[in-house]
Amino acid sequence: MRIIYVIIKTLTLPGAMLHAFFEHLCCRTSKIIIDDERVVRFDEMMSHVDHDLAKRKGPSFDICFIPFFFNLVIGSMILMYGSVSIIYFGRLADIFGWVCLYLGIALLTNIFPQIEDVMMLKENYFLNNEKKISKVFVAPFYGIFWLGARLEKFSLTLVTSVAFAFVMPYILGLFVPAIYNAIK
């Protein structure tokens, strides 16, 4: 499983690097000690930076959410053109379209945090008797992160991101024509 994980991460290297970069950024801003700052490494820590566990609530959420959010947004923006050009239009000679399709899939394959960070998020927010509204806000994210981290562990995020690339034109079809008509 580890070999498959490393192969998938190597295939989606730009996404892995970007995720590691945002995780590093988050560690710096949240004051979490980083033990190994490399963004390119070929082991089970690929796409993550080796850091201490976040002991406080805010940083434990940030370290899961910020890399997830940026990879998701940037990946979707790039994938929009790639999937429309290659999958929907069938413009097979569009090299930039292929680049965008690959990069979009690579970024979306590497959006989820590592399971240890998700467990820390759970510990900081849910394994105490505090009654706070933040639990309600964090709960859906925790669910997404937990599921995503599990999928990533089994290298299934590549499958989900490829599936997302095929579904993307249908999702865009729900609102892009309306936006275009409004602009026109």
Binding site: K31, E37, V84, L92, G173, Y180
Partner: protein, 512 residues
């Protein structure tokens, strides 16, 4: 011996137990001494280390009852006091602060971010440029899923114009594939061939995404090969009552046979002298096309509908394509043999293929006229059909081919209601629509549909519009060689032997 043995057995265990007990006690004593010694050493060492860091055991013992609060401890480790030499107000201790600051960014990550940022901007720009085409194609897709094939084709046409105006080198394969499939659904082989020849290269069809198109092309090639083979076996131009049955038998023999094509040479498996060498392209004879040929033979000899309705049924059942192509002809045959329910059911099937096609309205108009004698309802159906065409912006040729038949039906129903003044307008519109359909070949249309010009002349004569009567008759006589039937109908009308109603009731002017 036994006594000694008993003594030994009774004494020996006591000696062993005592020795073992003594030994265990010695070991316990040694272990305790060593443990105490190690503890003592560890405590001394710990005190020494703390003293090095400035720990005052006396002071601490005083402060034990007054421990430091969380606000005073390092925010990160929670063990040491906050503050560093540089920043005494820092929430971190000296050690943690130095650890937090020692992690520089990997330059590879920064490069990746910069490259991806540039690509993101480029992708968004390209997407914005292609947004109009995407929006138009999505609109067309929606129409196609709702079975509005005319609307879908018109929208795809707009998308294609947009692409051509952009002068891009990239072929929009999916756009062409969708157009090809819709043209095929409409039964329009010419447009399918035009699309493939104009926009696609030979190798393009080998791409995986053209799987459905390859099947369409194969079907069309089989139909074309079947047409050639039919031409080799029978000549419908010289069909007569004498060779009618012989022709039908010859056509029947072709069903289920193979066609071998090599270049321009076509052979079939009925030819016993031909032996395939394995280099030919092999097709199955398209049975639907053979049944259509049988229908044509019957129509050319003006046979009654009951003679060919079975063949037409088999043709329509052979494929969805044939249903689109010949569905309304079968429905017309059903109407003529009085099987109105079947005609109605077929009309509904055709509406499911293309809800904008006028086939449904045309068939329902015929059913209303022949079965119910409800001419007003029949006119209503024709008007709905024309409206449906207008709503799908019926400017294109494939839409126009439906409107003349509807206009003629409306005219005929108006005649049945004795509204000849209105009928003449509708029939004139039908002639103009026919002429517009094939604007380059006006005369061809008169030759193909002389009945339209004939009835236009007859109705004009009936309402006293002599100018129109003369114009229509002149057009007719200049282009059509055989006007015998027209002359007979005209004579009957003039003599009063037949009325206009009698003439249109024969079904000769239905244009189907």
């Amino acid at each position: 011996m036994d006594e000694n043995k008993e003594k030994l057995d009774g004494q020996q265990p006591d000696v062993e137990t005592d020795d073992l007990k003594q030994e265990m006690e010695d070991l316990a004593r040694i272990f305790k001494e060593e443990l105490d010694k190690t503890k003592q050493e560890a405590e001394e060492l710990a005190i020494e280390e703390l003293e090095v860091e400035g720990y005052n055991p006396q002071k601490v013992s005083k402060d034990d009852s007054n421990k430091k609060s969380d606000e005073e401890l390092c925010e990160y480790c929670g063990e040491r006091a906050r503050g560093t030499e540089k920043n005494p107000k820092s929430p971190y201790c000296q050690e943690c602060e130095s650890l937090l600051e020692k992690c520089p960014y990997d330059y590879k990550g920064i490069i990746a971010v910069l490259v991806i940022a540039c690509i993101t901007i480029g992708a968004m720009f390209c997407f914005a440029v292609n947004m109009p085409i995407f929006s138009i194609m999505k609109k067309a897709d929606k129409a196609a899923t709702e079975n509005k094939i005319f609307t879908a084709l018109i929208e795809y046409e707009s998308a294609l114009e947009f692409v051509e105006n952009k002068e891009t080198d990239h072929t929009f394969y999916n756009l062409h594939e969708k157009r090809i499939e819709l043209y095929y659904d409409l039964g329009n082989i010419d447009s399918v061939n035009y699309e493939i020849e104009t926009y696609l290269k030979e190798d393009d069809l080998k791409l995986p995404l053209f799987k459905d198109t390859r099947e369409i092309v194969s079907d069309i090639e089989a139909m074309e090969a079947t047409s050639v083979i039919i031409g080799q076996h029978v000549d419908l131009n010289v069909i007569s009552e004498k060779n009618y049955q012989e022709t039908l038998d010859e056509l029947d023999k072709l069903i289920g046979k193979k066609i071998y094509v090599k270049g321009n040479v076509y052979n079939d498996s009925t030819n016993e002298s031909f032996t395939p060498d394995g280099t030919e392209t092999v097709y199955d004879v398209d049975a639907g096309w053979v049944y259509i040929a049988k229908y044509q033979a019957s129509v050319l000899l003006e046979k009654e509908a009951k003679d060919y309705v079975d063949d037409m049924e088999k043709a329509v059942e052979s494929s969805e394509f044939m249903k689109s192509l010949a569905g309304y002809m079968l429905a017309d045959a059903y109407v003529k043999v009085g099987q109105y329910d079947k005609a109605e059911s077929l009309a509904k099937d055709l509406k499911e293929i293309n809800c904008e096609a006028t086939d449904y309205y045309l068939i329902m108009s015929l059913v209303s006229r022949y079965r119910d004698k409800d001419y007003n309802k029949a006119i209503e159906y024709t008007e709905q059909g024309v409206k449906a065409l207008e709503e799908s912006s019926g400017e294109t040729a494939f839409v126009m081919r439906y409107s003349p038949v509807l206009l003629m039906q409306k005219g005929i129903n108006l005649i049945m209601l004795d509204k000849n003044d209105e009928a003449v307008d509708s029939i004139n519109d039908c002639c103009y629509a026919l002429a517009e359909t094939y604007i380059d070949s006006y005369t061809t249309m008169i030759v193909q549909y002389p009945q339209a010009w004939e009835i236009a002349a007859l109705v004009s004569l009936q309402v006293g519009d002599n100018d129109n009567y003369k114009a229509m008759e002149e057009n007719l006589k200049q282009t059509v060689e055989d006007t015998k039937q027209y002359e007979l109908d005209l004579a009957d009308l003039k003599s009063g032997a037949k009325t206009l109603k009698n003439l249109v009731e024969s079904g000769r002017y239905d244009l189907i």
